[in-house]
Symmetry: C2
Subunit: 286 residues, 2 copies
């Protein structure tokens, strides 16, 4: 792999910090520079060995970098791209880790100079635990990382970003960018709406919640500000998948209403069979 | 506590087996007799020390017992009660562990002789892992156990069953029987319908499911036959809570449809706050 002398990570929280730790642990970058807006976080990232040095100025941090990885919350990615791109050197690569891709990529490509390549990427790892304190060098081990190159993405740059993610242990896959957004709407954004609605619909019974309810609603503990930006970016796909979900719930409701136990049993059996397939070997992060 | 020389457990799966192991481990029964319909399961229960002896004949197993605990799947509890009651001695106590209470209790009280007390109980412990192989002496440690005595339940019998559950580590609480069924509809039966609908509504994206989706849909792996009986018993409460849930989902849908981010943020914030309260100290079983 071409040597990445200098990698800059913008946003050193759970994902950005883990990228830094993983790159350093695997010897994939000789120097990692952290960019953030809070000194305390950046200092913690340096103490933990996720970055070698840091700056509060995104353009300064990106100057001279071979690779810039945008790891800020979704709502800030396009703005940060606009800040770093003018400072990036010819032949360098910009990439990101955002969980929505089409809307963001469009905004970034609108300000992308010819001399810099942008490779949209989405490592499916993370948790509702955020922040540099939870960063781990092995966060991406076995996790899926989806790349969604566009017509403007140079093949060589895709190859380089692919190698980096493989280097930190991820299973890399390329997907059509629209297809990616439909998929995450189904497996990540829909469950977030559903888990939140479930928590909100339970009233006096909440103190009685046990393991099952807690598992089912865990993701509702996520940061609302972060999620609003995700829903804004992927609104139409989320609405489409919510429509399918509502149809399934109504089918179950109708079966219950009519005491149609054969139909209800069929729905439960289909769900169990599909769910149990997910427990086969290999456990991705999210 | 009055000595339970002889306790009979009907159904020695996860819950029944754990009751046996817990009673023996705490010295709360000098003899535990297992009743089941499969020799192989009963032998395993004996090997594991959950029962001292066993029989395939429920009436024979219940004869002479001071306490009979019905631990079969919900759909079999009333039939097993009808089998054991005629054999039970005067002054003995019948209890159960079913997760629905009103319909079952009505059926049991219809065949209950004056000489035997019935105490409806629901230990909220368990998991989607079933069977005697998963039974544990500490399954009820810290779990909630709800007793739902009726007008016909003698106060002394309630006290005895309460002492037994406390003896095996559970936190015992009395609830009105109708209130119990409304509560479990919200925190257990509703999530099962929702998780199943979620799994069924996701199509080509399923292989991409990561931790969040897996947590949210784990309970959909439960046994459909068992669940059909639960839904049958608690149909009206489940329908009522499904109605509230659908209203919440529609509210989120409308907010998305109208790009009304303030409303959506409000829903997510409310859900996060309520969900995070559940992570405070103490973790019940289910």
């Amino acid at each position: 792999m071409a040597g990445f002398e200098h990698t800059t990570i913008v946003g050193v929280g759970l994902i950005g910090g883990s990228v830094g730790l993983a790159l350093k642990a695997r010897g994939l970058a000789s120097e990692v520079v952290g960019v953030g807006h809070r000194e305390s976080t950046l200092k913690k990232a340096q103490e933990r060995g996720a970055v070698d040095r840091w700056t509060l100025d995104a353009a300064e941090g990106a100057a001279g970098a071979d690779l810039v990885v945008l790891c800020t919350p979704v709502g800030l990615v396009a703005d940060k791209a606009a800040e770093v791109l003018p400072a990036m050197k010819p032949g360098s690569i910009l990439t990101d880790v955002a969980s929505t891709k089409s809307a963001l990529t469009e905004r970034i490509e609108a300000v992308l100079p010819e001399s810099v390549a942008f490779v949209p990427a989405h490592p499916m790892a993370g948790s509702e635990k955020r922040g540099i304190e939870n960063a781990r060098a092995d966060l991406f081990e076995g996790a899926r990382c989806i790349l969604t190159p566009t017509a403007r993405t140079p093949v060589e740059a895709v190859g380089v970003v692919c190698e980096i993610w493989r280097g930190v242990g991820a299973v890399v896959e390329k997907l059509d960018i629209a297809e990616h957004d439909r998929i995450v709407a189904q497996i990540s954004h829909l469950p977030h709406v559903v888990a939140s609605a479930l928590v909100n619909s339970v009233k006096e019974a909440l103190p009685y919640a046990a393991t099952g309810f807690r598992d089912t609603t865990r993701i509702a503990g996520g940061d609302p500000g972060l999620w609003i930006d995700i829903f804004r970016d992927n609104r139409e796909n989320v609405l489409a998948t919510l429509g399918l979900f509502l149809r399934e719930v109504r089918e179950a409701c109708d079966a219950l209403e009519n005491s149609d136990w054969d139909t209800l049993r069929g729905l439960l059996e289909r769900a169990r069979e599909r769910r149990n397939k997910l427990d086969s070997p290999g456990s991705d992060g999210e």
